[in-house]
Every structure is written in structure tokens, then in C-alpha cells.
Symmetry: D2
Subunit: 131 residues, 4 copies
């Protein structure tokens, strides 16, 4: 997988167990796919400007080890299972100082037009999204 | 002030200090003004459908006592300082079981049309927003 | 499944697609399991006071239809796959006015003691968590 | 003020008005003070390890112009009004590409010991926090 970003755990991300709350990781997944797309020379913002949307239709998260306040975390991302009108993004979140895997997961995305209908990826987008 | 809602503190709202994180209260302020408007027989959703928006332009929060996980909290709200194109909502958040004041504050709202220009409140809205 | 709570979609829960952002649903899952436990006569807060924690170790979400601002949503929850030291909570989120299924998913929880070691559920907890 | 960090607006930060929701800015304020402290050679994490906490006791936000999806934002921070047992952090959030001021505000912090009592800042901390 490609290391695409690093994030710093905020106090607001922790809960009273003293670790990052489970709801936070989907935010980091978003950072992962946004930066992965940016590394391919596009932005999700530009994709939306062409009238397409790629909403999350399914998500899976496996919490391996707790992330803690002020930890620096590497976000690794890759695409997978690219089809005519859907794509999966996979993620691994690793603690920077020792590389420990904290959370892994994936999100499945549909390709929708501005009316919300499922449509095929245009060729240029298909090329950009290839794993 | 008018008691308009009650909220239950989630685990996700707490931080590693064992109390509700400071960022959460602005969410509860939103609940306060939404339910205050509903009690007046309108909804903010309907107001937006008429082509108006009332974004927050200023906010103030005074944290009095910590809220804790699973606390039930009363949200009290009232309008104040209603003008031709702006209004203030005031909030008090109180712990249900003993009435202790946890947080108080206010948000200032402008009246904007769909192009984002400041406009005067229509008469019906002005009437609805009166303290 | 058991209807355990209803939530109102906040403006802060929406994103610029005009629908509830994918990260929000895990908050509603938390509400589901907290209220399910309360309906069984316990609270998660009390369970933690006995020195046990039940962190989320895995989560799955399937987004069926978008939830929108001010929607009232029913949260339905049930336990499943109860084992000596783990349990799954399943969730269905339905739009109140027509019962449309918006999101379904589950979270897997381990039983940990205060040192973070996996331990067996005490008998009383096992009984409480049975589907 | 000192430029201490830059943040990228996430999709999850926006709301259906197409701009960053008002609740998000307090997260960025936290990033501002955390990175300001890091620039002084300390971390808030280390301060907590000495048995002190600096919770937010008051906050003020003035929203000047909307931040939008994928905007890169500079976070500028400075301390102010340092007293024996309290300090204020001031923040300015500016759009990176044109320097436009998007939001300014401040947070007031008390110095508490591990029992939650207000105590005077130790000399080293007082020196570190000077504007």
C-alpha cells in the first residue's frame, strides 16, 4: 500500500478509555482516499465538478491496537476491485514510531451522476483509479 | 429560558480527561435552536426551503462544570437581540438529575438569501423569532 | 430487532452532498447498543464500574439509502453471536416516516478487564447480553 | 501570530450549506494550541504527565468567511493574558491560497491538578506559555 498521509491524534479524538474512539477512523479513511487521489494527480473535488459523486456504500473496520493521544499515524491506502461503476479503497493505519498496525479496513464506493443514478466511470477516471 | 430538548452523553463525546470534550457543546447548541424553532411551529428545514439560511456568524461558550458519560442533559434555549437581519440564540445546558449548569453560551446568526447576501427577515420569520 | 432509540439528523451531521456523512452512523450504532443495554436494565456505565470494558474491535456498515437533515431515525439493535469473551451488536437504522432501511451493520466487542486483557464475561453479563 | 499548522478541509467537515460546519473550528483551535506548544519545545501530552490539565473553560469564535471542501487552511496561534493559573490562546484561521481570514477566536484555559483543583502554573510552564 501507498503511504499517502500522516495524521496527529487530537484530544478531541480520544474517549474516556484513554484511546481514540472507534468513530474517528472513518475520518482518517477519508483522508487516505483523498490523498491517494491527489497523488494520482487528481482531486476528489475536481471529480465532483465533472458531475460525478463517489459516496461510501459500505465500510469495514478492524481495530487492531488502540491509537493514543498525540500519536503520529501513517495512513496507507490502495484501490482494489475496480469495476465499471464501483471501486474499493483499502486502508492501513500504522503508528509512526514503531509501524504497529492500529486499524485496517476498506470502503466501497459507487459512481453516481448528479441525479444519484449509478453510472459507469469515464475512461479517464477508470485509468486513474486502477490499483 | 425554555427547556427544548434533552441529550444523553455518548462515549464518543468524552475525551481522555473523562469528561465531554469542548467541541461537543456546539452540537448541543444546534439541537437547542432546532427544537426551539420546532416548538414555535416551524422547522429550520422549512426556513431553508423558502430560500433563506441562518448560518452561525459568532459563538460563545462558557464551560461551567464537566458533563460526563451517560449524563442526561437538559437543553434550554431562548432568542435574544432580534434585529432586522440577525438574531442571537442563548443556551443553558443543565445536568438533569440536579439541575447543575454545565455550559452556557450563545450563537449569533445572520439572515442570508440563497446567494449568500444579508437580507431582512420576512415578517413571519421575525414574528416567529421574537424572544 | 428491538427498536431502542430514535435520533434526529443534525445539520452538523450532513455534508455537502446534502446527506448524512458516512462517519456519523457509528455514533448512532453506539446509541443503539447503549439503549439496548439500558432496556435490559443495565447501563454500559455500570458495566465499566465493575472493571470491565467492551471496546469495538470490528465494525461493518452498509449504507442503503441516504439520511437527510432533520429526518427522524429509528435505531433498532440486537445482540448476536454471544461467546465467552465477545459479542456482536447488530443495527438497523430506519427512516421514521416510511420505515425505509437507511443503514445496517454490526460491531464486534471484546470483553476486557481494566488491564486490557481479554477475559470471560461474568455470568450475569452473559445472561444480560443473550440475544 | 505564529503560523503553527495547516489543515485540509475534509468532506466530513462540510454540511449541506456547502461550507465547513461551525462545530469543526474548535477542533482546529485544538490543533493550533497543540502545535504552538510543540513549537515551544513541549507537548500538551507531557504537561499532562506532570499531573496538570489545562481544560478549556471559555471559548469564542467569530466566523468571517466560509471554509470549503479541500481548502488548505493555515492555523495561526498565540498566547495572551497569561496569569498565575490561567492563559488564553488566540487563533486565526486563514485560507492558504489568498490569506483570507476565515475564522478568529480564542479559548481560555485554567490550570488544574489531577484532583481538578485550580493551581498556579509551575515556573517552567509559565515561562513556556508567555506570549
Amino acid at each position: 500500500m501507498l503511504k499517502v498521509a500522516q495524521v496527529r491524534v487530537l484530544y478531541a479524538d480520544t474517549d474516556q478509555m484513554g484511546v481514540v474512539n472507534n468513530v474517528v477512523y472513518l475520518r482518517w479513511f477519508e483522508i487516505g482516499r483523498a490523498e491517494w487521489i491527489r497523488m494520482r494527480g487528481r482531486t476528489y473535488k475536481d471529480i465532483e465538478k465533472t458531475g460525478l459523486m463517489m459516496p461510501v456504500v459500505e465500510a469495514h473496520l478492524k481495530y487492531r491496537e488502540p491509537a493514543r493521544y498525540d500519536d503520529l499515524i501513517h495512513v496507507e491506502t490502495e484501490t482494489d476491485d475496480l469495476r465499471a461503476a464501483s471501486v474499493k479503497f483499502k486502508y492501513e493505519l500504522k503508528r509512526a514510531f514503531d509501524g504497529a498496525l492500529l486499524c485496517e479496513g476498506w470502503t466501497q464506493h459507487a459512481c453516481l451522476n448528479s441525479e444519484g443514478k449509478v453510472v459507469r466511470f469515464p475512461d479517464a477516471l477508470l485509468l486513474m483509479l486502477r490499483p
